[in-house]
């Protein structure tokens, strides 16, 4: 209850909104007292406009929170929250046109974040494209106690974003692209396979397109290492009320349904919570993650 009371819906303004790679934007939003409640892996529901188009809010992972120096002496520093987003449809197109000072609404932080795992063990983060987002706050925490490696994959070089920020944290990064335009040519999962051979005790954390997550899950299952994944799903409410965002949990049957809400029981799940086979039969959970 105490934690949930900290969740909030607030009206605020944009501090900056910049294109950081072709089609990828970074938006900084004024968010007083947001950081202390936000944990790695959580997300926000962002209201794109105060008009009714688009009607529903859009979910975005929290990339990071931080402080800006205050405008005047004596005032407290300004707290902000940052999201990174890819322009894929109507809502994100409108977002890409927003400016400093534009008024927006944020609901969050929402959902369950990552479990930090055992301090000291190797940590391998696997990010696919925009799926990198929730891994940054995670890395910031993990580097305090463990050796952290980021394996970052994408279609082409444009999809490889924010890697230098991880490096600045002291994270060792490995990049692969399908067209070979940056880093190793091929899928990032082949890098994971190699790394797990080398570090068989690692904790793995992954976020990215569904086919990538499925492959990661199989590799981790084979290597018997713990895996946490952050999922995407179509969402209306973001708080567990509409049941639009469910995924099938392990043991799910029609008679005794074990649906899990991605928004509330996720978006981060331990791999063994999920019924990977049944998930693969459905379209919904990864509608947006296909690209």
């Amino acid at each position: 209850m105490k934690e949930s009371r900290r969740m909030n819906n607030f009206k605020t303004i944009i501090l900056s909104n910049q294109e950081i790679s072709s089609g990828y934007y970074r938006m900084r939003i004024l968010a007083p007292e947001f950081g202390q409640g936000a944990r790695p892996g959580q997300f926000i529901m962002f209201r794109v406009q105060t008009s009714l188009l688009p009607l529903l809010r859009r979910p975005f992972g929290i990339f990071q929170t931080g402080f800006l120096p205050a405008d005047c002496d004596g005032q407290p520093p300004k707290e902000y929250l940052e999201i990174l987003y890819k322009v894929v449809g109507g809502g994100t197109t409108i977002m890409s046109g927003l400016h400093e000072g534009d008024r927006v609404e944020v609901l969050g932080p929402l959902g369950r974040g990552f479990d930090m795992g055992t301090p000291g063990t190797e940590k391998i983060l696997v990010g696919g494209g925009i799926g990198l987002v929730p891994l940054y706050m995670l890395a910031r925490e993990l580097v305090k106690t463990s050796k952290v490696r980021l394996l970052m994959g994408g279609r082409r070089r444009d999809d490889i974003i924010a890697v230098t920020e991880f490096e600045r944290l002291g994270v060792e990064t490995y990049v692969s692209t399908e067209d070979g335009s940056l880093g190793e040519e091929g899928l990032i999962t082949q890098v994971l396979e190699r790394k797990l051979q080398k570090y068989p005790q690692a904790d793995v954390y992954a976020c990215g397109p569904m086919p990538m997550l499925e492959a990661v899950q199989q590799i981790c299952a084979t290597h018997k290492v713990p895996l946490q994944v952050s999922l995407e799903a179509l969402m209306a409410c973001g708080v567990g009320a509409c049941l639009g965002c469910v995924v099938k949990g392990v043991g799910h049957t029609e008679q005794s349904p074990r649906y899990l809400c991605t928004c509330k029981e996720g978006p981060v799940f331990r791999a063994e919570q999920l019924d990977w086979q049944k998930m693969a039969q459905e379209d919904g959970y990864c509608e947006g993650c296909k690209s």
Binding site: S4, R5, M7, N8, N9, R47, S51, L52, L53, P54, L55, L56, R57, E105, L107, A233, L234, M235, A236, C237, G238, V239, G240, A241, C242, L243, G244, C245, V246, V247, H252, T253, E254, Q255, S256, P257, Y259, K264, Q281, E282, D283, G284, Y285, E287
Partner: protein, 316 residues
């Protein structure tokens, strides 16, 4: 669009917003629409549930229900489609796990429920009949009757009337019957359920709709079709509430596309005694509170001391 912004003047005499539906006393006429507010707890971190006229639960069935495969939702222009498939924990688990939370909230709880056979409806009503925390029942008859070729109870006045009759027999709780808009003449069904013993009528449920993903050529919902809700449907909802109010004597709860006080006022003016807010909760968890405040501000501005002066005040 604007028109939604209203502010209460300080020091103005506060109008009386209390209404009564089927014997349930509401401090104001605003409550959530079933299925958009979970079991109440989900929104407790965001709004004070005691400022609502009532809480209406997610639709319950006798046994737990898995619901539909995903995708279950799709946004459309100023609306959304849903085919959740009425996933719910079932009446017994609701009583055991969800009701205790609601017991602590000083707001009447209306339980929405449904069945896919006459018997299921009847049995669910029975199990809820003696639960003191349940202030009233909202009977969702927009469900297919699996024993009768899947015809939707609420589209057939006879089937509708049978369900209401049975539920009436099995429970003395105040009974609200929620109608589907997917009918040729909603007044026929309204009159049938009134006659069968409904204490109040709620309309509308969602309009059946469909959307297609042009790239994949698949329906955007796994279930192919789903229920359309949100501001897009409001004109249809207002029309139907208007018609039903003229056709029956029991109070009517208006629902469909309400986002702000101005929207809610349309329903009250055509004669709804209370309103429900659905999809707008997703857009803004404070939507219902904004509606309450806006109605209050409107009453003050117009010199209305009791909301009942407003209800049914349409000038035709």
């Amino acid at each position: 669009m604007t028109g939604c912004a209203m502010k209460t003047e300080k020091n103005a005499k506060r109008p009386n917003l209390a209404v009564e539906i089927a014997g349930i006393k509401l401090k104001n006429p605003v409550m959530p629409a079933s299925g958009t507010f979970g079991y109440g707890e989900e929104y407790a971190p965001y709004i004070d549930l005691e400022q609502l006229g009532a809480i209406v639960t997610k639709g319950l069935s006798l046994n737990p229900k898995a619901g539909n495969p995903t995708p279950r939702i799709a946004e459309t222009v100023s609306g959304m489609l849903n085919a959740i498939g009425l996933q719910n924990v079932g009446v017994d688990d609701f009583i055991k796990y969800k009701l205790p939370f609601l017991r602590e909230v000083n707001t009447p709880v209306i339980v929405n429920f449904f069945g896919n056979t006459l018997e299921d409806y009847g049995e669910a009503a029975k199990r809820l009949a003696d639960i003191p925390e349940v202030a009233g029942l909202e009977l969702n008859i927009s469900c297919p009757n699996v024993k009768q070729g899947g015809i939707v109870f609420g589209t057939d006045p006879k089937a509708a009337s049978e369900v209401v009759n049975l539920v009436r027999k099995n429970s003395k709780k105040p009974l609200i019957v929620k109608l589907t808009p997917n009918v040729t003449d909603i007044t026929v069904v309204a009159r049938a359920v009134e006659e069968a013993g409904a204490d109040a009528i709620c309309c509308i449920n969602t309009l059946t709709g469909m959307a297609v993903d042009v790239k994949t050529r698949k329906p955007r919902l796994a279930n192919t079709t789903g229920g359309l809700s949100g501001p897009a449907v409001r004109p249809v909802a207002v029309r139907m509430v208007h018609q039903v109010v003229q056709a029956v004597k029991v109070p009517v709860i208006g629902v469909g596309g309400i986002v702000c006080a101005m929207d809610a006022l349309e329903f009250l003016i055509v004669g709804a005694t209370a309103v429900q807010v659905g999809t707008a909760n997703f857009v803004d968890p404070r939507a219902m509170l904004n509606v309450v405040e806006g109605i209050e501000a409107f009453c003050i501005e117009e010199g209305i001391s009791d909301i009942r002066e407003l209800i049914g005040s349409i000038k035709l």
